[in-house]
Symmetry: C2
Subunit: 202 residues, 2 copies
């Protein structure tokens, strides 16, 4: 019985997040209320609050889900075979593409990002750390095979990720879309150059 | 006579900008009106409009002035003597320091940046292009001396500048201040590595 009720609880939690995400996309993030979500699910707001202590917690759950998809894809690429530089490029282009689809092409979801950034959500920091860590895995693989040369793996990962801000950060993707700048492939070339073995000092 | 009246006109224009900047810092950007500026100068709003066609034009003039100071300093550094990498570092740290002082430490001026970004001001794009160009000059000097190795100067300049977004862009400086990330010196090391001569393929 415990297993079954736990299963139902998880299921309800999941259903709340699915409906919340749909309403955020339709109505926009600010305009959606817990009452709207409850109504769609034919339950009382009090029941929703049994699963999520606040409206913010629901929002974080939805954001977590959207970011989780990007993380899963990034980690999948990090675990494939092949030259590290090639896979690092694929990973970086995938993060750019998925973030663009999620938060820029969909203006209602972009509103959610703006709020998350203003309110300084822990979930965003955790997501950035995970993506940085995954990029770090690839750099470590490249360093091990001699493709890359890094003194400090953590610093190299932070720098490689930070260099891609224009292409990773939803607000920057949106703001820079029409501005002069490098293409994503040129930017990745530059990052890979920064990770590549140096010529010895003459 | 023409010369004198032109001089007075320029002077009035300049005085309007000085007063506007002071009021933006005191009252905040949104709350300052053309009437406030005119009152401080003991002139009619109509007279202010003789010099600036709109409130936005005054704002742009103030922003132009603040950005101009950064540009002058960047260009001064680009024209000094010494190894390109050393001067590139000084230039990048100066842009970071001046933008932090101007737009982040002063929350009222930060408001001005937010609006400029939202409204997609041409002055911002022109400023970014000038800073990119100045960085490009330094990279060209380094390439000429053999310190750097670049295939395409324009791409290298755009990438070096874009890689520094976390440290140059006022919104990113503010947003990232408390987040994990590389130090500015680590980031500049990474950029310089990206510009340095490669080891030949084994």
């Amino acid at each position: 019985m415990t297993l079954i009720s736990e299963h139902i609880e998880t299921d309800t939690r999941e259903r709340i997040l699915v409906v919340a995400e749909r309403l955020f996309r339709q109505l926009g993030y600010q305009k959606t209320t817990v009452a709207d979500i409850a109504k769609e699910l034919r339950m009382s707001p009090a029941n929703v609050y049994r699963f999520f202590e606040s409206k913010k917690a629901i929002h974080e759950g939805v954001a977590r889900g959207l970011m989780g998809e990007v993380e899963i894809e990034a980690q999948r690429i990090a675990r494939t075979e092949g030259p590290a530089a090639l896979r690092l490029r694929e990973l970086m282009k995938t993060v750019n593409r998925m973030n663009t689809e999620r938060y820029v092409d969909d203006s209602k979801l972009h509103e959610m990002v703006e709020v998350a950034m203003q309110e300084d959500w822990e979930v965003c920091t955790a997501h950035i750390e995970l993506i940085t860590g995954t990029i770090g895995e690839m750099i470590a693989q490249g360093a091990a095979s001699g493709e890359f040369e890094v003194n400090d793996l953590m610093t190299a990962s932070l720098c490689a990720c930070t260099a891609m801000m224009r292409f990773f950060h939803p607000q920057m993707i949106a703001q820079c879309a029409t501005k002069p700048g490098p293409t994503i492939d040129e930017m990745i070339d530059f990052v890979i150059a920064g990770l590549s073995p140096r010529a010895r000092a003459n």
